[in-house]
Symmetry: C2
Subunit: 366 residues, 2 copies
Amino acid sequence: MRKIIRWASAIFLTAASLSLLGCGTEKAAVKEQVKQETIKWKLVTSWPKNFPGLGVAPERFAEKVGKMSGGRLTIKVYGAGELVPALQVFDAVSAGTAQMGHSGAYYWKGKSPEAQFFSTMPFGMTAQEMNAWLHNGGGLELWQEVYAPFGLVPLAGGNTDIQMGGWFNKEINSVSDLEGLKMRLPGLGGEVLKRAGGVPVNMPGGEIFTSLQTGAIDATEWVGPYNDLAFGLHKAAKYYYYPGWHEPGTTIEFMANKAALEALPEDLRMIVEVAAKATNEEMLDEYMVQNAKALKILVNEHGVELRQFPPEVMARLKALTEEVLQEQVATDPQMKKVYDAYMAFLNDAKEYSKVSSKAYMELRDN
Amino acid sequence: MRKIIRWASAIFLTAASLSLLGCGTEKAAVKEQVKQETIKWKLVTSWPKNFPGLGVAPERFAEKVGKMSGGRLTIKVYGAGELVPALQVFDAVSAGTAQMGHSGAYYWKGKSPEAQFFSTMPFGMTAQEMNAWLHNGGGLELWQEVYAPFGLVPLAGGNTDIQMGGWFNKEINSVSDLEGLKMRLPGLGGEVLKRAGGVPVNMPGGEIFTSLQTGAIDATEWVGPYNDLAFGLHKAAKYYYYPGWHEPGTTIEFMANKAALEALPEDLRMIVEVAAKATNEEMLDEYMVQNAKALKILVNEHGVELRQFPPEVMARLKALTEEVLQEQVATDPQMKKVYDAYMAFLNDAKEYSKVSSKAYMELRDN
């Protein structure tokens, strides 16, 4: 409010001082004054421009901010590689090359290993649990602590929902089928597969289809039905496995340059924060609708064969996940702090799920 | 943007015309101009003022709108009975007595039977599925159609998450235990219980505790652990049953008077819509965190005994729900239209849940 009054006073004084000049000149002066109030931000992303789901969300965010601010804050969205490469989003926003970024926190484990907990963990929280933890369970405050040394402020900026287990050309009937399995599976999931005797492979998106088709890899994960269908992976694999144990509800992040965010007047800062929260839900809503539609198309029109991972395979991977995490946090107090908070919330959420979501879905969907 | 320029021009002209007057007078004139831009709205609710979860959400919404608009749109929130009684929210906003309301669509089945589908249905969609349907599956457009004749615009305004089955002093081990069961269970759930031979009772919140304690009723549902613990129901019942088949993810609504909403400049209208969407997620986040905490307290500190409804009881109630709904839509084409849309989405969501949420939770939480 104070800000508006200040601004109005400035225009008023300009007007008063110019009142002896002609009317055209006066109008031009006012327009100039208004123009000076317009703030222009850049937002860099880790996704191809307008990539379904992930890439559309920051565009919608920018549109909301522009409209809510009456054009006083305009945000230009850049696809991966347009201003900076996909994996330089963190550095670019930290340095102030762009004022905001839209990416995934697990990309920054080289900066801070505990960043991973703010995206997704194998056998970890679902999308709704992540939202609850971040916004009401202390998660966001921890995340802010982790990003503070880099001059960054994180905000939840979407969720892809529970992903699928992946596309396989080999059947997984027992733990021994994991031995020697060559699978494109980056991150912690890959580390777990390695301990189970598999061969995790990392490769750029553009090479996955051909590698699967030629047998250079036996399997790959991508996202979920929505993005997988668009990518055409059903043309290169026999089985579509579920559930996505390695990414049960991946939080996507907005990050803002701290100095830029703090320089905003209070109303614009609130507009950025509330628009981010609305975008966070919007992306999850879109993924759920589009995943359900794409799943139907994959099964009914493309004859894709759905397979569930056997319980003993899941139990083995779950035990190995705990082993890997325990080792990683053993020598890293900051990572241990985030891990402990994450696990405490997850354990309560599981007990609640047993009498709510899980109990209900078992009943309804059988 | 155009709006700001128009407004700035108005101030400019005022300033120019007043430029012969003293400086103090000029400043007062500017302040008056700014004040005239302030819009004041009333928001009536169906909840006691600041009721945990439900009542806190509209307060947070109003705070967001106030801050994002720099004080240009201020919204005063009224608890149930402060301006109008709890169940007159719909009429009050329709008549323009208040510009907004925060309530639950199932209260308005007397106005429009299909309104119920926009809150919750027995054996229906979860919170996340409701959000997805409303925002990306055509649900909100249908809801707008249903409210349009009343001059109202609905928006999703929160979710209580899957509720609990309720507090019982009688064990439910088989379908025959439902016979003669006196339970406080309003709405469609009550109608279903009646067909199963039970005696659904409706009573105001204030009478529930004593009725349960004295044996006037055998059971009651309320909300979930968060609100149930605060209400003290564990002191009056032996068993806490799950899952809440009758309310699997209750959407709470904002409604705006259409004329008032459309009279807002574009930026303020967008601020109202985006703040509502952020509030929608916030309430669900809060319920999940607080439900998980309260469940732990109920079990660990108050020794509450959790009981799962037997599968055959659930199967019977599910079949009866379908029977009741089929009868209700048979003679009502408008209700049938919403029912068909709801069921089509629910069926796709169930298939998706089988390979995503349900499959994952079964795996993770065992």
